[in-house]
Symmetry: C2
Subunit: 317 residues, 2 copies
């Protein structure tokens, strides 16, 4: 028996989802921002969430409205845990940008409670549990962001029940994120999902599945240029592009400046560009994207990131 512990802390990075063709399937963890979740066993029987940190404003602490809540409830149920929990979310991933903010919290909370309650769940099961947190926010339990935040690198989430494959991204892969400064909308992800029709043409589904397969093979082979050939989407991009002023120009100018591919990051409004640092300078790509937004009278901010590792325990077993 290991000594009885009463607390643990986990950290999980933000992520970009979809990457074009991989709608609801691909995620890539990014080392720019991370959330930490500190879980403490308390007397009593209540589970309580506290939200802190520089990005904690406007994040609800109610169990069913915070993405940490549903995973916590599920893990407590699985562990038949009868005491109380205090879950302190240190929120550093900005929300509303399309960088998997809710997923980072859900992933960190799932990781810390798996550790504290000594559940030792499989990767696939961790991802399934964390995706319950997304359901609280977006209305569907999409698992692409939580899978990337939990497992790190490039992750394929597929099938029902959920399976995952995690691949180490090419060493020279750089990610440029460009975020237009638009008014943040409440329930943005839910709205961005609603504008996608229920059905698509088989012809377009085939385009997406071929590109997604090509991207997966390219990640496995470490070929960044080939990854970029798949970053076109027939499911969400044709609708979500309309929510981002100047989208087509920003994409085009990012590609012209050397990006292997450019896509909407998750539900947007950020765009991500994948760049091979061996052959191109990601800063030039960033500048080109800012310029293109600017030509459309939109101010934007950018950052450069690298693929991040998976969620980890900072303090605990």
């Amino acid at each position: 028996m290991r000594p009885f512990r009463t607390q643990a802390i986990a950290r999980a990075f933000c992520s970009t989802a979809n990457l074009g063709a991989g709608f609801d399937v691909f995620g890539l963890a990014l080392d720019k921002y991370s959330d930490t979740v500190h879980a403490r066993i308390t007397s009593g029987k209540k589970i309580k969430i506290l939200v802190r940190g520089p990005e904690g404003r406007n994040i609800p602490a109610e169990l069913r409205k915070n993405s940490a809540g549903p995973p916590a409830l599920e893990l407590v149920r699985k562990a038949r845990f009868k005491k109380g929990l205090e879950i302190i979310v240190e929120k550093r991933v900005p929300q509303g940008l399309g960088l998997g903010s809710s997923g980072s919290t859900a992933a960190a909370c799932t990781k810390v409670l798996d550790n504290l309650l000594d559940l030792r769940l499989s990767n696939d099961e961790l991802v399934r549990v964390a995706s319950l947190g997304e359901k609280a926010i977006a209305g569907t339990a999409h698992a692409d962001n939580v899978a990337a935040s939990l497992l790190g690198g490039f992750v394929i989430t597929y099938d029902n029940p959920i399976r995952t494959i995690s691949l180490k991204p090419p060493a020279s892969l750089a990610v440029v994120a460009a975020t237009p400064q638009l008014p943040v909308q409440a329930g943005k992800t839910r709205k961005a999902r609603k504008i996608i029709p229920d059905k698509i043409r088989v012809k377009n589904a085939v385009l997406n599945l071929g590109r997604a397969a090509a991207m997966a093979a390219a990640f496995a082979q470490g070929d960044i240029r080939m990854i970029g050939t798949g970053m076109e989407d027939e499911i969400a991009e044709p609708y979500r592009r309309n929510l981002i002023p100047g989208y087509d120009e920003v994409k085009r100018m990012g590609l012209e400046a050397g990006a292997a591919g450019v896509s909407i990051s998750g539900a947007g409004p950020s765009l991500v560009a994948l760049v091979d640092r061996k052959s191109h300078d990601p800063r030039l790509v960033a500048r080109a994207m800012v310029r293109a937004f600017s030509q459309n009278n939109v101010r934007s901010t950018t950052f450069l990131a690298r693929p991040a590792h998976g969620a980890g325990i900072i303090k605990g077993a």
Copy 2:
């Protein structure tokens, strides 16, 4: 200048397409059967197709009805070739089984004329040209079979214009094909395409694209068990399964006997099972599938195959 040549012969293997999730996108060349095409420059200006060989009966020789015709016309146009051609198709791939018979002919014809007319087309362009032959037969220029027959191994065909990625299959991969003895239908592939609705639910498209991505990553990593996890299809299988009596049982018994995955081969009616010879005996899988067909009062035949290499010149430059 190389010496002027007047003839060449190429051979291309048969293939299985789709492999479950990869509808119209995945192909795998199989070493069981092959077509050869012998092309000769003739005086005059006519292009003439002759069909011979053990599987040549009932194969039309008209330029627009034989899958060698449209690729030949396209290559002659590209080469600005002004003389005549005699194209002798030695047909050994049985038609109507779902093993890419028309694709083998189109691939061999494309390969031989690329060589004879000294065009030196890229792989992607060869595949595009050969796919014109499928249009003559099936009504759409699907490229999955021709890509496998041309390039060999496991091939991902995607995007518009066509791109291809060819991966070397795992060394221990064995393929079991089980063919129910059903009356052969004229225009079978065309009919099998027509029963698929024009649209599918996004939810189902996401299932397919996730599985296809997983399969591509698994082929790249040489993991046969993981390849099998993606061999489920929401596009064609729900409809085409109804054309194959006992489909569900044959699939289930194949999997129980050790197959990593079982799917309809192309437009059917053959089924293919992928088996890792390191851990399972493909003959047991074959027997289980025959037994399952038999329990549904269907006689069937099986063969074992290995992945094949791409189309090659037997005689020529």
